[in-house]
Symmetry: C2
Subunit: 238 residues, 2 copies
């Protein structure tokens, strides 16, 4: 039996839920949160994405970084569709203008909702999310104003918020370039060979080298002046 | 293939996503939205709730009311836990003080996130949710200020919002008593015998007559002066 009566009323400021996709950004975020002294509970969301190797990577990274716990929540977004990552739309291999087709409708709102539910259940005060407003592929829900609006929402949305314990949404990467993210994670000893950024990684976690996410990641290592540990199944572009 | 390029940029003001649980409130909301002339796409969320008969009821109600489509999104909240509806906590049979253990952490935030994703995919401008701030069991995410904050969030969270097409979150029941909701739905010809409110309904949809939700529903029919079509498997309380 869970003691429901204690939930939320004594949120622990050193406890955090960390959204962990298995990609470079979220792994860096987890490393930063652990380095800052948080007791971290990682949460991966299985939303029917094409790149399932990411989920395996998330579990490995959580264990390698000694997070307190790791959970996977299954959300089948295929019935909603609307993105190249979950529906039958081709992933583009060329740079495109505007918001790309890999945008998943309301994805970060959904991710943060799930993290919020877990944070309230665990009485964790902070939620970490590895969004980035610099090299962010143009997704609207990666911007600082979105994160701030979601934090405001937690005051009204939850039992804990109503009882005077709002949640703190932390996005430590938001103003960093990809190169700065890679430098920060490397300084913390993070092994980026364990992370997967590719939208169409194969089952063993090798990357295509051609999608938006691969191009941004590759350029990041180059700019950071650090060796790129990514394994490719194809000849990378650019 | 889905034409992703048109999503969100031409949201249809007469198209709506309606969250439909199979309960009395959401069924009334769907009847109201259809009566108001909206092309309604109903969305049920299977979040691992105990009362699975509700999901069957949702599909039946959507068909009976001639909604344009019905979808079920699976979200397995059991890995998050924290509520008597999804975790191993007993459902109370007596009136309790404050926010009850049947509160699901961040549930309406999650429901609205999923509806938002679908609304953006379908280019629907409105999202209907049957929350109610009068006979609402004390849940924080059933209040008008929460709904308003979520509507604000959609301006920042989505491709459509960023492109100048924010979503409208409609909660037509929010200030109605349970009796007024029942009167409104009955006037629209809604058959409440198809709806299930009970937190621990049996597989055939019969109600316990004793949980919070049963007590509120029963009192509503009494106050509305209308016959209660609910089938009980036990002797109702009160």
């Amino acid at each position: 039996m869970v003691d429901a009566s204690s939930q939320g009323s004594d949120a622990d400021p050193r406890k955090a839920v960390v959204l962990l996709s298995g990609g470079l950004d979220s792994a860096t975020t987890l490393a930063m949160a652990i380095d800052a002294g948080y007791e971290c509970h990682s949460l991966a969301v299985d939303y029917g994405q094409r790149h399932r190797a990411e989920l395996d990577a998330a579990a490995r990274i959580s264990q390698a970084l000694n997070a307190m716990s790791h959970r996977v929540v299954q959300v089948d977004l295929r019935s909603i569709g609307g993105s190249a990552l979950t529906a039958d739309i081709d992933v583009p291999t060329e740079q495109t203008e505007g918001i790309p087709v890999t945008y998943v409708p309301a994805r970060n709102t959904l991710m943060l909702s799930l993290a919020l539910g877990l944070a309230e259940t665990l009485a964790a005060e902070s939620i970490f999310i590895g969004v980035n407003a610099v090299d962010y592929s143009g997704y609207p829900d990666c911007r600082p104003q979105f994160i701030a609006a979601f934090e405001d929402l937690t005051r009204l949305a939850t039992k804990a918020g109503v009882e005077g314990h709002p949640f703190h949404i932390q996005s430590p990467l938001i103003h960093l370039t990809k190169a700065e993210i890679i430098q920060a994670g490397s300084a913390l000893g993070l092994d980026y060979g364990q992370t997967i950024s590719c939208y169409q990684a194969d089952d063993s976690g090798r990357a295509c080298g051609r999608c938006d996410s691969c191009r941004i990641r590759r350029a990041g290592f180059k700019e950071a002046g650090l060796p790129d540990p990514t394994r490719y199944y194809d000849e990378p572009v650019g």
